[in-house]
């Protein structure tokens, strides 16, 4: 056990302050300390992507980061992407195109896909497959995940065009 330190992070727009051991992994800070249970744990070795969040504009596997490294950062989880009253097009598309089964990978998938579409609003299928390769799904075989992301991209681009 090491001495507890003071940390301040912003999660989904809300500032959180607490004392924690520096060795605490960010995924546990989120899930156990802050009760944000959308991000999941599939490996704790940064292979599966179930724990994916966005930190200062980058996709991060939150099992790879100590809470100390996240100090002062802005974090977005699936809970900050959309809820019952403001579903994100990706959330709708995953349902519409059967992009999930057990749902365990889904928060990480959608969080990563959102970032991917920000980086590249018009990805090819290969770019989607490559860009999502850090997120493992054991149920769907990915085909419908790819379809869901393509559909959301089309929807988001159409909305953007309409707004312009």
């Amino acid at each position: 056990m090491s001495k507890k330190q003071h940390y301040k992070i912003t999660v989904n727009g809300k500032e959180e302050e607490f004392l924690a051991e520096p060795r605490e992994l960010l995924i546990y800070t989120l899930r156990e300390r802050l009760n944000i249970t959308g991000p999941h744990i599939g490996c704790e070795t940064s292979h599966c992507g179930a724990c994916t969040v966005t930190i200062d504009g980058k996709s991060v596997k939150s099992c790879t980061m100590f809470v100390a490294q996240a100090d002062g950062k802005k974090i977005t989880t699936i809970e900050g992407i959309g809820g019952p009253d403001n579903l994100h097009p990706l959330q709708t598309a995953f349902k519409e195109h059967h992009g999930l089964q057990c749902g365990y990978c889904t928060p990480g998938m959608i969080t990563r896909a959102k970032k991917l579409l920000e980086e590249n609003p018009n990805p090819t299928e290969a770019e989607i497959r490559f860009g999502m390769a850090g997120n493992i799904c054991r149920c769907t075989g990915y085909q419908n995940i790819v379809k869901s992301i393509q559909a959301a991209a089309a929807e988001m681009n159409a909305a953007k065009e309409a707004a312009e």
Binding site: M1, E21, R23, E24, Y28, R31, E32, N35, I36, T37, G38, P39, H40, I41, G42, C43, E44, T45, H47, C48, A50, T77, I78, E79, G82, G83, P84, L87, L90, Q91, F94, K95, E96, H98, L100, Q101, C102, G103, Y104, C105, T106, P107, I110, I128, R129, F130, M132, A133, G134, N135, I136, C137, R138, C139, T140, G141, Y142, Q143, N144, V146
Partner: protein, 809 residues
């Protein structure tokens, strides 16, 4: 009446019943991060438990010193076998009739075995406590090879030796050796051997179906909470069979079953991993009783891969005989099954090798004989059905490889060899040589459709050209055409021959219709991603004429759900789906009487039509199911009890036999060993189709797991019994980058004995997919003399095959 304007078609559409691609009701919570998986559960004062695990595969435990661990801040207790022994809980029964140590009792039998259970305020404190437990081991000789184990003097399990030193009988009969678990046989040995010995052509092959693991994205875990005030134990966990877990917990703990409530919350994939009972469950319960606090145990990925529920590990030898024209006359299969340190296979009691006796496949084979020998080794226990019905994956791989080898022996096209040996449509119900009665099938139609769709002849011509080009030095890439035609056996099963720990493998459904025409149905199964809340509501919608959107499906809470044996082996649709339909029909029968009363006609003068009962010959006179539901609660109807509820416990008369035809086209780079899947066509016949969207999703997922197993996924051990593939770095899980797009197709041959004709589909693509991928690789090398190479076909092994065939010279 109010909805007269609606056409019949619209009324059908409004129900969202069977056959439509209804969107899933589960998805709203999952896409918003609001699923409720076991690790999301948080209770007041909850503690965390975790294991000290053995670094050795076989060792004597000399001493365990927990004193330093108890000094670690946050650690409350450390349990060892000594603490569990007075409660009789240091060992537990396995589903296979064997016993398994909960915590190491004097020795360990596999790497990662549970030695002590540290209970602390959180995961970090538990991890610190684990570091501080001192265990003194004395290493023993390690047996990782079942063939060597069967000859070794080393006794792995002292309880396998009788007092006179001879091997003691096991749960499935006499042992041949102290490390032998059972011999299981099916079919006729004499006639089979005679047929093979006198045959015109015999093909022989030895193959190893390697050890692997279901590895769902969520690992196993539980939360146990003993309420000492009212004496009730609540156990949340990743259970594919919550009722069976309740019964097991009651039997081993002595707590009465009504005082135990088992809850399976959302489950992050199962694939067979979450059927068994694990030491973590027992230790959490004991720890909760000891501390008076809720205790959570969640395994990490290494624990998961190393200890809970391996799959496969079958060494198979086959002989198949045929006439020169290719008509198969006999089949012999012998299996040496590596079960690890404890026999913890999750099979129905009477089937220690599961349904391996489906290994005659889709073919009309007059005589066959199967023998399976189970063996103990220093590996993890398990032997679960990884996305398949009990050992069916092994059986189908065996026969689909034997067919390919026979085709080579006969110098025949493997597609044609399959066709001339298929069981014919008119032979169903078909009694197979190894005992099963196949319910229905139309194999020729499916096969012809598949071959035509992919232009099989064109592919073979292209492949021949490629071989020419390769020989001429124009290309370094070969082309493989993988074929597989599988018959699954699912839906366990008839209580007369299927039980687990004495519990018959029926399943159940209970329906309550609410006065305003909506409903709740509860089942004995539990979804792990299959979408039961969506599809079971569709079955009911079609049966009782209320919209699927008005029907809530609930599973997984033993206090509310009717008793059932859970979800695995593609049994939910065949068994619980049938129970759902039957319970729906009971509702409909009562509704008919109410309708007749309301319409002032005789019961027999009304008939069901989509969502209502109409007076025969006068369709303008009707009562909708919604109206009938209300009447059931607000009218005194002579001779009929108020309310509208039904329960059905369904004992299936037979198993169901889904089948399918898969074809894979691959290009293989001879110099890198890299396979590229160019095309994968999957035709499935799962009988009546409830939700095509979900079926397609199941096929995609099952094929991807098949790809994984065929092309690289493996639990490998070194000679010391060290697990070499204990993390996702070494254990292959395909990503979106490695996985192709699949083409799906279907035929429909309903099951004649199932109330709605459905057969189950979740596992077919895995069962049929593994041989298809493997056959594609092997087919590419067939022109160069390849007969058989073992899976997993990772790049290195493919390169090695090419090298051994001289293709790099």
């Amino acid at each position: 009446m109010k909805d007269e304007v609606t056409s019949r078609e619209e009324r059908i559409e409004n129900l969202k019943g069977m056959g439509c691609s209804r969107k899933r009701v589960e998805d709203a919570r999952f896409t918003q991060g609001k699923g409720n998986y076991v690790d999301d559960i948080k209770l007041d004062g909850m503690l965390f438990g975790d294991f000290v695990r053995s670094p050795y595969a076989h060792a004597k435990i000399v001493n365990i010193d927990t004193s330093a661990a108890l000094e670690v801040p946050g650690v409350l207790a450390v349990l060892t076998a000594k603490d569990l022994e007075p409660l009789g809980l240091h060992w537990m029964p396995t589903l296979a009739g064997d016993r398994q140590m909960v915590l190491a009792d004097g020795k360990v039998l596999f790497q990662g075995q549970e030695v002590a259970f540290v209970v602390a305020v959180d995961r970090y404190a538990a991890a610190d406590g684990i570091e501080a437990v001192e265990v003194e081991y004395e290493e023993l000789e390690v047996l990782v090879d079942p063939f060597k184990a069967m000859k070794s003097d080393v006794v792995l399990r002292p309880d396998t030796v009788a007092e006179d030193g001879s091997p003691a009988a096991g749960a499935h009969g006499p042992r041949k050796h102290h490390n032998h678990i059972f011999t299981w046989e099916a079919g006729d040995k004499g006639p089979t051997f005679e047929t093979i010995d006198n045959a015109e052509v015999v093909a022989e092959e030895t193959m190893y179906y390697h050890r692997t693991h279901p590895c769902p994205l969520e690992t196993c875990g539980c939360v146990a909470s003993m309420d000492k005030v009212n004496g009730k134990l609540t156990l949340w966990g990743t259970f594919q069979a919550p009722h069976a877990i309740r019964t097991v917990v009651s039997l081993i703990s002595g707590i009465e079953e009504h005082n135990i409530r088992v809850i399976s919350p959302d489950i992050g994939g199962g694939f067979g991993n979450k059927v068994g009972a694990y030491p973590g469950y027992v230790c959490s319960v004991v720890a909760s009783i000891v501390t008076g606090k809720p205790v959570k145990w969640i395994e990490d990925r290494m624990d998961n891969l190393m200890t809970t529920a391996f799959a496969r590990d079958y060494h198979m030898t086959g002989r198949v005989s045929a006439t020169r024209e290719g008509k198969i006359t006999g089949l012999h299969c012998h299996v040496t099954a590596d079960h690890g340190g404890f026999d913890a296979c999750a099979d129905p009691t009477k089937f220690p090798a599961g349904f391996m006796n489906i290994c005659t496949g889709s073919y009309d084979i007059p005589t066959a004989f199967l023998q399976v020998d189970g063996v103990y080794t220093n590996k993890a226990p398990g032997g679960v059905s990884y996305r398949c019905s009990f050992r069916v994956t092994e059986a189908v791989y065996f026969i689909e490889r034997m067919i390919e080898v026979l085709a080579i022996e006969l110098n025949m096209d493997a597609a044609e060899l399959r066709r001339i040996n298929f069981i014919k449509k008119e032979q169903f119900p078909y009694k197979a040589a190894l005992g099963w009665e196949y319910d229905s099938g139309d194999y020729h139609t499916a096969w012809d459709k598949a071959l035509k769709t992919v232009d099989y002849e064109g592919l073979r011509a292209e492949q021949a050209q490629r071989v020419e080009d390769f020989k001429a030095g124009k290309t370094r890439s070969l082309m493989g055409i993988g074929l597989s035609f599988f018959t699954e056996i699912v839906g366990a099963g008839p209580v007369k021959n299927c039980d687990i720990l004495g519990l018959g493998m029926f399943d159940s459904c209970e329906i309550r219709i609410h006065p305003t025409g909506s409903a709740i149905a509860r089942l004995g199964t539990i979804s792990q991603g299959q979408g039961h809340a969506t599809t079971f509501a569709q079955i009911l919608a079609s049966e009782i004429g209320l919209p699927a959107d008005s029907i809530t499906i609930e599973e997984g809470d033993t206090d509310t759900a009717p008793y059932g044996l859970g979800t695995y082996g593609s049994r939910s649709t065949p068994v619980a789906g049938a129970a759902t339909a039957m319970a729906g029909r009971k509702i409909r029968a009562k509704a008919q009487m109410i309708a007749a009363y309301l319409l002032e006609v005789h019961d027999n003068d009304v008939e069901f039509d989509v969502d209502r009962f109409v007076v025969k010959g006068a369709p303008e006179k009707f009562k909708t199911m919604k109206e009938i539901a209300f009447a059931a609660y607000n009218q005194a109807i002579p001779g009929i009890e108020p309310g509208l509820e039904a329960v059905s416990y369904y004992d299936p008369p037979n198993m169901t036999y889904p089948f399918g035809a898969y074809i894979c086209v691959m290009d293989i780079d001879v110099d890198t060993g890299l396979p590229e899947i160019r095309r994968f066509y999957a035709l499935d016949d799962c009988g009546t189709r409830i939700n095509p969207m979900i079926i397609e999703g199941q096929v995609h997922g099952g094929l991807t797991e098949a790809l994984a197993v065929a092309l690289g996924q493996e639990i490998a051990y070194d000679d010391m019994g060290n697990v070499k593939t204990g993390t996702l770095m070494d254990f292959f899980l395909p990503t979106a980058w490695e996985v192709p797009n699949y083409e799906t197709d279907y035929t429909v041959t309903p099951s004649p004995h199932h109330p709605i004709g459905a057969k189950g589909v979740g596992e077919s693509p895995h069962v049929g997919g593994v041989p298809c991928f493997s056959n594609a690789i092997q087919d590419a090398f067939r022109p160069f003399g390849n007969r058989h190479t073992n899976m997993p076909h990772d790049h290195w092994r493919i390169w090695k095959t090419a090298n051994e065939l001289g293709l790099h010279d």
